[in-house]
Structure formats: structure tokens, C-alpha cells
């Protein structure tokens, strides 16, 4: 971030002060030169924290109670040890088939 000073007409005018060097940044030594000081402004020097251009801020669909319930459930899932996946995740037919058994 960089700071930019601007000059503007002194809002203080010619008010007396105990030390003439006070407000020197706001008012130049030569009163004939108009000073225009604006408050410091800050400009970003990078774009890393810019929001994505298509960002839309919406309300969370779940209320806070359900968020807590889901979070507790996820924490319990994270704590349990992960089991190794079976080799054949997808059955041969690509979908579930009823098993034909004889009674």
C-alpha cells in the first residue's frame, strides 16, 4: 500500500498557534502560496486480495443450528480412521442390480 498526500486549501486558515512550526505540513511557510492538503488516502499495490469479479454474496442456506449439527457430524467423520477403498468401486453393470436368490 502506498500513501498519497494531496494539498488542499488549509481549513485552519490563519488561526494563531503557540508555535509557528505547528501545522507546517498543512500550511506552507509562505502564506501567499495556497496549500491544498487532502487527507491521506491508501491505494492497493497488488491485486491478490481482490474478490473474484463474479462473486455473489448470499445468505447461508442452513441456519446456525443446522450448521453446528453438520459441523459436529463432520468432525466425528474426520476423527474416524479412513478405510481402504475396495478395488471394484463400480460394479460391472455400472449400477445396482437386484440379486436373484432362491428361497
Amino acid at each position: 500500500m502506498r500513501v498519497v498526500w494531496h494539498l488542499m486549501g488549509s481549513m485552519l486558515g490563519d488561526w494563531p498557534s503557540c508555535d509557528p512550526h505547528n501545522f507546517s505540513k498543512l500550511r506552507r511557510a509562505d502564506p501567499s502560496i495556497p496549500s491544498r492538503m487532502m487527507p491521506a488516502t491508501y491505494h492497493r499495490t497488488h491485486s491478490r486480495t481482490l474478490p473474484p469479479p463474479d462473486q455473489v454474496i448470499t445468505t447461508e442456506a442452513k441456519n446456525i443450528l443446522l450448521r453446528h449439527i453438520y459441523r459436529s457430524a463432520e468432525e466425528e467423520n474426520d476423527l474416524r480412521p479412513k478405510r481402504a477403498a475396495t478395488k471394484h468401486l463400480i460394479p460391472e453393470h455400472g449400477c445396482k442390480q437386484p440379486r436373484a436368490t432362491s428361497y
Binding site: I64, I69, S72, E76, P98, T101, S102
Partner: protein, 537 residues
């Protein structure tokens, strides 16, 4: 900020100061400290009816005829009379003002239960759809106990031959739609078995163990959305039937060997044989979730089987025998379902039975969480987020400002002080109120615990009747000077001569007017109830 008690000062202050963001309703409510129902008309002459409640928008007073066949609707108004004397405050109300009709205008009466049949209106049940001003009233035939279970019905649960829900437009009393259940049982006492959330209605059938989800359309139609019980998704029944067909008929040449009542001509089977059927629907979801949860508790795979044997299989039949007791919406997708034993489902003292609470996602058909009814984790959620259990419709402004221990420091201090004395029993008792019954709390500002302090054993926002008391019920200002603002007395100063008869009292508070009805009934005697009107004089 210095707050004056004088109403004129408050009005001037309201002209100058803007309430802090999000507090405009609470700031406006402070005027109720000045406008209280301090006058009472005792034993007002009124029709002999069962007054049920004021609708949450204050537009109607719902009442049922004594014979439980007619719905009677009144419009709350306000008495108006003028006094031409100089000192009007000293004068009492004229006799003509002390009438029921001065406060309530009869709009219409609608006959709902046929006098030929044996149907009666369930006078403990009423739901209000505020957005459209629709009312839901139920009529049913008498319940039959000790009925044998057949089909999917549960043994031990009574049933009624016919139960009808009527959707009525309260503006004119027109019946828009009905939903009929045959040979079923829904607990309608104080709206326990039915939950309304926005335009969705959940009806818990205890007998057939099904949660019926209906939608109330703006046109006034009741539309079936889904039925959760034996099936979870809309096409589960189709899949299971086609599956059963494949299992039953692997070889069509063997058709003649199958039992006759399961086969007609080799075509569609209605339902698998119950004795052979696997657990399906929500019961399967529930047991799977319990199994996974218990399995995950034991991290050592070598010990897991023993752990499951001890914790799951040993209690397997108890889990299978769990039935749905009660249900409520947590939002449009999630249900909070209470499971328990058959005995507890029909018992009046359900708190003594062990019960479980499950959170179910209707869209994914998954159980998200499962708690015992004394679980501390659930109690902490209940203590912090009680308002999210009291799911109020977005359309109902007044219901979003009912005092609870989650939004009111006084209510929270009260329960914490009780909890510190008897923790585990207290947690179980508090969780016993879950799932909540719909529209069971009054939105009246006089029950706002930031404004008034009152004895909750004698009166509260809940519409359940309580044991009557001869002593006046005091409403004391919460702020300084903590003065008595008004009293609700159920009888004149002399009290009741006969103190032996047991009486119960119920209170109906208007949602925003300083107007309330107190109704005193004598148990076990066929005496008409005594109705008092409390209003701001």
C-alpha cells in the same frame, strides 16, 4: 439513556430518537409497560363455546361449539363508549359495555362435523396460515384402543376410522380443501402430531409410522409432497416392488409353487411379505446411522466386531422397535424426529420413557445426527439456539419475537439457576419438550420477559391449561421501580366458596391488543366455563 416511565414523555422521545439497528420492535414494545389490561369483567355472559385461541395476527378469535361440531369465528374489536361527565375516571363501565359482544363480533359459524356420523372437531387442534389467513381444523371419529395391527400398522397404537383435516379460509369460512386419513392415528392434542412451517405441513401418523409432508398452495389446495416412513424417496416404492418381482419370479416356470396370496397372475406385487422383508425407509436409514456411529467409536479393527456386538447387536431389537413419536421442521429440508418405544408414544408421561432425537434431511434422505433425549451435546445446542427449534414462519412477524432463553437474559438466568441444582434431570426435562409443538406459544408482549416478571407456574406464553388459582397472577415490571403493573384474577375478590373442586384455567392473550380472556373450567362437572375479559380500561 434515561428512560422515563410516562407515556407522553415516551412518545416525545420516540419523535426524537431512532432505535438502534434491529431493535425497533423491542423499542415499540416498551409502550406495553404503560398499556396494560388492568380492568376485568368477571364471568361475562357469552356463548357456551370452547374458545381456542386468537390467531397470531390478531384478526380472529377461533372457537368451537360445545357439541364440537361447528367452528365459530369472531373478530376482536374494541368497546367504544363515551362519558359526558366531568370526572369520567370515577365512573364504572355502563352495563351495556360489559358484554362479550362489545369486544367480539361474530363473523360466521361453519359446520364441520356431520351430526349423522360420529365425527367431532378436535378442539385442542388449530393451526393458522398467516400469509393467506387460512385455518386448519381437524375432525375425527372416536379413537379405538387395543386394536389389532394389520399391514404396516403398529400394535399398541390406537386408531380412528376417519380423520379429516379441513383447510378453511377464515375470511369467509369457505372450506377450500380436505385431507382424509382412514384407519390411522395422529396425536392432535395441543397440535402435537402436526407441524406447520411456512406452507409445509408435516403430519406424523403414529399408527402407520409415516410422516406425511403436504404443501398448502396459495390457491387453497393441500398437495401431497412426500410420505416418509416405509419409503424415503418418491420412487422407492416402485424400485422395491420391481425388485420384489425379480426376487419372487427368477424363473417364471416356478410361478405355481409360490403362495397364492402373493401371486395373482405373475404381475405386480403390492408389497413384499412382511415377515421376509428387510428394513426399509427411514428405519433403515436410522439403523445404518446408528451402526456407523457405534462402529466408528472403536478405532481398533480387531476389537470392532466385539464392540458392535455389545453396543449394537445386543440392542438391535430395541432399535428396530423404535417408532416415530413426534416430528417438527428445522427448515424446509430438515426434520427433527423423536423416536421411542410404543409405550411412550401413546403414554401421557412420555418423559419417563427413553427417547431419541434424530435430524433427518428430506432431500438427501440421510440421518444427519442422532441423540439420546438426555444428551448434553443436544442440550447445549438447545440452550444456545432455542429460537431455531421454535421455527417460525418468515411471514409471521410477531412469532419471531417470543421470549426464550436464547434471546432473553432473564429467561437464560432462570434455566441456568435450575440447571445448576439438578443438571442431568433438568437437561432431560428440557429436552423432553423437543420436538416443539407448532403455534403453541402466544406472541403477546405481556409475556416478554424483558418487560414483565410473572410466575411461570401460574401463567406463561404456552397455551396449555393450568391448575387454577384463587390468587391473582401478578405481572411485575422488570425494570426499576419493579412495580406491580397489572394482575390477572380469575374470580372476584370474594374468591370461590367451594375450594374443593378442581379447576383448570386457560388464558388467551391477544397478540398486540391489551386484551385477554381467562377461562376457568371445573373438572369432572358439567358446568359451563367461566369467562373473564381483561382489558385496558
Amino acid at each position: 439513556m434515561f428512560r422515563r416511565n410516562n407515556i407522553a414523555s415516551r412518545i416525545f422521545q420516540r419523535q426524537i430518537y431512532t432505535p438502534a439497528p434491529g431493535t425497533s420492535v423491542y423499542c415499540a414494545r416498551r409502550f406495553y409497560e404503560n398499556l396494560v389490561p388492568s380492568c376485568t369483567i368477571y364471568d361475562v355472559e357469552c356463548p357456551d363455546q370452547s374458545f381456542r385461541k386468537f390467531t397470531d395476527d390478531g384478526q380472529y378469535l377461533i372457537s368451537f361449539s360445545r357439541n364440537q361440531q361447528d367452528l365459530v369465528v369472531y373478530r376482536p374489536t374494541w368497546l367504544s363508549f363515551s362519558c359526558k361527565e366531568e370526572d369520567c375516571d370515577a365512573h364504572d363501565l355502563p352495563p351495556k359495555a360489559k358484554r362479550f359482544e362489545s369486544f367480539f363480533t361474530h363473523l360466521y359459524s361453519v359446520s364441520l362435523a356431520s351430526c349423522n356420523g360420529n365425527e367431532l372437531i378436535c378442539k385442542d387442534f388449530f393451526l393458522y396460515v398467516e400469509s393467506n389467513q387460512y385455518g386448519i381444523i381437524a375432525t375425527s371419529t372416536p379413537s379405538i384402543h387395543d386394536a389389532a395391527a394389520n399391514g404396516a400398522a403398529i400394535q399398541g397404537v390406537p386408531y380412528v376410522e376417519k380423520l379429516t383435516f379441513h383447510l378453511i379460509r377464515l375470511e369467509d369460512g369457505v372450506i377450500l380443501d380436505v385431507k382424509v386419513f382412514h384407519n390411522d392415528f395422529v396425536n392432535l392434542t395441543h397440535n402435537m402430531g402436526v407441524f406447520l412451517y411456512d406452507d409445509l405441513l408435516a403430519i406424523a401418523s403414529l399408527r402407520n409410522q409415516t410422516i406425511h409432508i403436504l404443501q398448502i398452495r396459495d390457491s387453497g389446495n393441500l398437495v401431497d409432497v412426500r410420505a416418509i416412513g416405509a419409503f424415503c424417496r418418491e420412487d422407492d416404492e416402485l424400485f422395491l416392488n420391481s425388485n420384489a418381482q425379480c426376487i419372487a419370479f427368477p424363473d417364471k416356470s416356478k410361478l405355481h409353487q409360490l403362495p397364492g396370496n402373493n401371486v395373482q397372475n405373475g404381475t405386480h406385487l403390492s408389497q413384499p411379505n412382511q415377515e421376509d422383508s428387510l428394513l426399509s425407509g427411514i428405519k433403515q436409514r436410522l439403523l445404518s446411522f446408528i451402526f456407523q456411529g457405534i462402529s466408528n467409536e472403536e478405532k481398533d479393527p480387531a476389537l470392532r466386531a466385539q464392540w458392535l456386538k455389545k453396543k449394537f447387536y445386543f440392542r438391535f431389537q430395541d432399535y428396530v422397535d423404535l417408532i416415530i413419536w413426534k416430528v417438527q421442521f428445522l427448515d424446509r429440508q430438515h426434520l427433527l424426529i423423536k423416536f421411542g418405544s410404543v409405550d411412550g408414544g401413546v403414554s401421557r408421561n412420555a418423559d419417563q420413557h427413553t427417547a431419541f432425537l434424530a435430524v433427518y434431511n428430506m432431500e438427501t434422505t440421510e440421518i444427519v445426527a442422532f441423540y439420546q433425549n438426555s444428551a448434553e451435546e443436544l442440550y447445549l445446542l438447545f440452550e444456545r439456539f432455542c429460537d431455531h427449534f421454535h421455527t417460525a414462519s418468515k411471514n409471521s412477524v410477531s412469532m419471531n419475537f417470543v421470549s426464550s432463553h436464547s434471546n432473553n437474559i432473564h429467561a437464560l438466568e432462570q434455566i441456568r439457576s435450575v440447571k445448576s441444582k439438578a443438571s442431568s434431570q433438568f437437561m432431560k426435562k428440557m429436552l423432553g419438550s423437543l420436538p416443539y409443538s407448532c403455534q403453541s406459544l402466544s406472541p403477546s408482549p405481556y409475556f416478554d420477559q424483558s418487560l414483565f416478571r410473572f410466575d411461570e407456574k401460574l401463567i406463561s406464553a404456552s397455551d396449555r391449561p393450568r391448575q387454577s388459582t384463587d390468587h391473582p397472577i401478578k405481572f411485575i415490571l422488570r425494570r426499576q421501580p419493579c412495580s406491580l403493573k397489572f394482575k390477572i384474577k380469575l374470580g372476584p375478590e370474594a374468591g370461590n366458596a367451594d375450594g374443593r373442586t378442581k379447576k383448570i384455567a386457560s388464558f388467551l392473550f391477544h397478540p398486540f391488543l391489551p386484551l385477554a380472556l381467562s377461562i376457568q373450567q371445573t373438572l369432572f362437572l358439567q358446568q359451563p366455563s367461566v369467562v373473564n375479559i381483561h382489558f385496558r380500561g
